[in-house]
């Protein structure tokens, strides 16, 4: 393995860790708002690190650009959906979790 491969492997592992954290949060957190918090970590950081790791290995600039576009799109849709769901949940009177 070359240096760049070690580098992207590290990024990929970090991304996978955030996906694991997001899924764990989705399963273990107590209410929809905290779960939302966990999911967006996987969306933004997890996929971001994965995309970064794959971009290092991308064969052409087009492929790298496409990877970046995918990440930006997921950022955009993920944050919008998170906003819509949390606002809708608040309006419908779903209670915030309290200790």
């Amino acid at each position: 393995m070359t240096l760049s491969e070690y580098f992207s492997a590290a990024l990929l592992f970090a991304g996978a860790f955030f996906f694991l954290a997001g899924t764990l949060g989705l399963l273990r957190f107590p209410d929809v708002y905290t779960r939302l918090h966990a999911v967006t970590k996987a969306d933004n950081v997890g996929l971001g690190l994965m995309v970064a790791g794959l971009t290092v290995q991308a064969e052409t600039w087009t492929a790298a650009g496409k990877l970046l576009l995918i990440w930006l799109l997921v950022l955009l849709t993920g944050s919008t959906v998170a906003h819509l769901i949390s606002r809708g949940a608040l309006r419908r009177g779903i209670q915030l979790w309290k200790l």
């Binding site: 576009l69 799109l73 849709t77 819509l84």
Partner: protein, 320 residues
Amino acid sequence: MEAITQLQYAFDAPLGLGLLWLAWRTLACQDLFEAVVSFAAFGLLMSLAWVRLDAPDVALAEVAVGVGLTGALLLAALAKLRSSKMNEDAAGQLGKEGSEVGRPQWLPLVVLLSVAAGLGHAVWSLPLYSAGLSPEVALHLETSGVSNPVTAVLLNFRAYDTLLEMVVLLLALLGVWTLGGTARRPEAAPGPVLDTLVRLLVPVLILVAAYLLWVGAHAPGGAFQAGALLGAMGVLMLLAGWRLRTSLMALPLRLTVVAGPGAFVAMAVITLFIEGRLLEYPPQHAGTLILILETVAALSIGATLAALFLGSRPQDLENR
């Protein structure tokens, strides 16, 4: 190499089991909303299965339809089902289901098991290798005008199939329009966030649809994928509360919807006169002709799918 093969098999097992499990949840769970959401997740897993089976063309179509259209269609129908329940307050349980869930019925179960056993046996007794029609496709790919075999099959070798498929789409839309509109709920304003999302996504969606259409000649993509993507874009715009001007909803929409099958029929007639065979293109022009047909077909498919989601006939909406 050995490790990679094993990893692939390790990938297949949870994927196959997950598909069966989600299908079972879709069909057996108590709540209809849960069933619809499970079905949306099922579509996502199906697209992974297509990729695993080296069918990226199919994966693109599945993703564009399964992620973009089916979920929205089912959720909108479920919402209308529930609101009509609220209006009429009928005794029929519309949102929830009757008592038969969970209690296995023996005769259908026997049918299920015998069908599964029979089909499974039939599949299992097939020969291990079979080239199917792929040698034929490879043999004629040179003269088809495109280098992606799937596009060649769709728009050249079996273009009459695709012609009839376009007619089926049109018939489905005519059926929906003939049934007349269903009652519409008043809709809240989309709000600035959703509006911005749609405004940002629509240009990218158009760009990607055009890209898929263009790339379909030599790589996975093509008219159906681009059309489904355009249809999903229409659904997104309708969900955000965008409506076309009524003048555009009448004749222009109808012309777009008919243009797909119309172009195929026109091409069939022209080729019948020039080459003497239905939809057999002259080889030197095949690439161009296929691209023209695909462009018209993609626009038409997109308009049809979006109109199917809208449900009612455009002039019924005007009268409302």
